[in-house]
């Protein structure tokens, strides 16, 4: 076994990740290799040193402070929503008026356009009409035109 492979097996052996055959093979190598025996000791020391490390502790009030912070954030969010709704309410009349003006303008404009079309059709009618019509017809036609316009 090469030392390069043995080093990897040493790390696994420390975590009890080797099969029986692999352990046997590793031990045979360690018996012959001073360098790898040192590596084995070093890796074990690293693991011990880390596992013995004193863990940091949180303050006793940590959980309560997290819950408190969450509630604060939720209240802040709710307040923002209320401000937005109040803004909408306050400006609703203004917004509604604005919408009404737009809608009314649209209706008036579309009606004007329609009247223009009627006037154009009527003008064309009269142009054609003058060539072919009696006085009585003219009178009847005027009544109809009046009705069309209004």
């Amino acid at each position: 076994m090469k030392c390069k492979n043995a080093e990897m097996l040493i790390s696994l052996h420390i975590d009890n990740k080797l099969s029986l055959e692999e352990v046997t093979s590793l031990m045979e190598h360690l018996n012959r290799c001073e360098k790898c025996r040192q590596t084995y000791k070093d890796f074990k020391d690293v693991k011990i040193v880390l596992s013995d490390m004193q863990k940091a502790k949180l303050s006793n009030n940590f959980t309560n402070s997290v819950i408190r912070k969450i509630k604060e954030l939720k209240n802040r969010q709710n307040n923002k929503n209320i401000v937005f709704v109040n803004f909408l309410k306050k400006h609703f009349v203004m917004a509604a008026s604005f919408v009404f003006i737009i809608a009314a303008s649209a209706v008036i404009l579309s009606k004007k356009s329609s009247n223009n079309n009627n006037a154009a059709a009527l003008a064309e009618y009269y142009l054609n009409y003058e060539q072919n019509t009696s006085v009585e017809d003219i009178y009847d036609e005027n009544i109809i035109s009046f009705l069309l316009l209004y």
């Binding site: 696994l12 040192q38 070093d42 020391d45 690293v46 040193v49 880390l50 596992s51 940590f62 969450i70």
Partner: protein, 190 residues
């Protein structure tokens, strides 16, 4: 109550139950953060922010992995982000001892010879912590998860989202590097 029950109830509006999640995971969360922040007062703030982020992300958790795996992934990402922002690389061991802490160690030694051993242990702890901070992020995380928090290889594989063979190789390389750095700091006899 298991995690799933708590999560469903918290999402449904029983937000106070979230404290059970905090209590269950806060120690391990802090341990991971600690490996990135060291002896700084930021650790608790970061831990608090992590739990707030978890709270607001609960509705996104779909139970495809275990809840603990999901939490630790968030912690690791937040810790890495924090370290990047703060650009924390411990260069000098002395920098980690404030004047007050140094004085405390000296006073310990002077006041009672029997506590000399405790003072040395305290100093050793700090030096080991500092050495851990010098490692690159992946090595830091894997040694924290394996050697400090005792996660299995399979758990580490899920948390870090890497194959088990990569876990094995990374642990090996991290230990090798840690060993080299400890030697350089003359922390223990080689």
């Amino acid at each position: 109550m298991n995690d799933k029950d708590i999560i469903e109830r918290v999402i449904a509006g029983q937000e106070d139950l979230f404290r059970h999640i905090v209590d269950r995971y806060k120690d391990k969360v802090l341990s991971i953060i600690y490996s990135f922040c060291g002896y700084t007062s930021d650790c608790e703030d970061i831990a608090q922010n992590v739990f707030i982020k978890i709270f607001y992300s609960l509705d996104k958790f779909k139970f495809k992995s275990s809840f603990s795996t999901w939490i630790y992934r968030i912690v690791i990402n937040e810790s890495i982000n924090f370290a990047k922002k703060r650009n924390t690389k411990i260069v000098s061991l002395q920098a980690n001892f404030s004047n007050d802490e140094e004085q405390e160690v000296i006073d310990f030694i002077k006041s009672d010879d029997n506590t000399e051993k405790k003072a040395i242990e305290k100093e050793t702890q700090k030096l080991v912590q500092d050495t851990l901070l010098k490692l690159k992020d992946n090595y830091k995380i894997i040694l924290t998860l394996r050697d400090i928090e005792n996660f299995s290889y399979e758990e580490i594989s899920q948390i870090m989202n890497i194959p088990i063979d990569t876990v094995k190789i990374r642990i090996f390389r991290a230990r090798k590097k840690m060993k080299q750095l400890l030697k350089e700091d003359n922390l223990y006899e080689m």
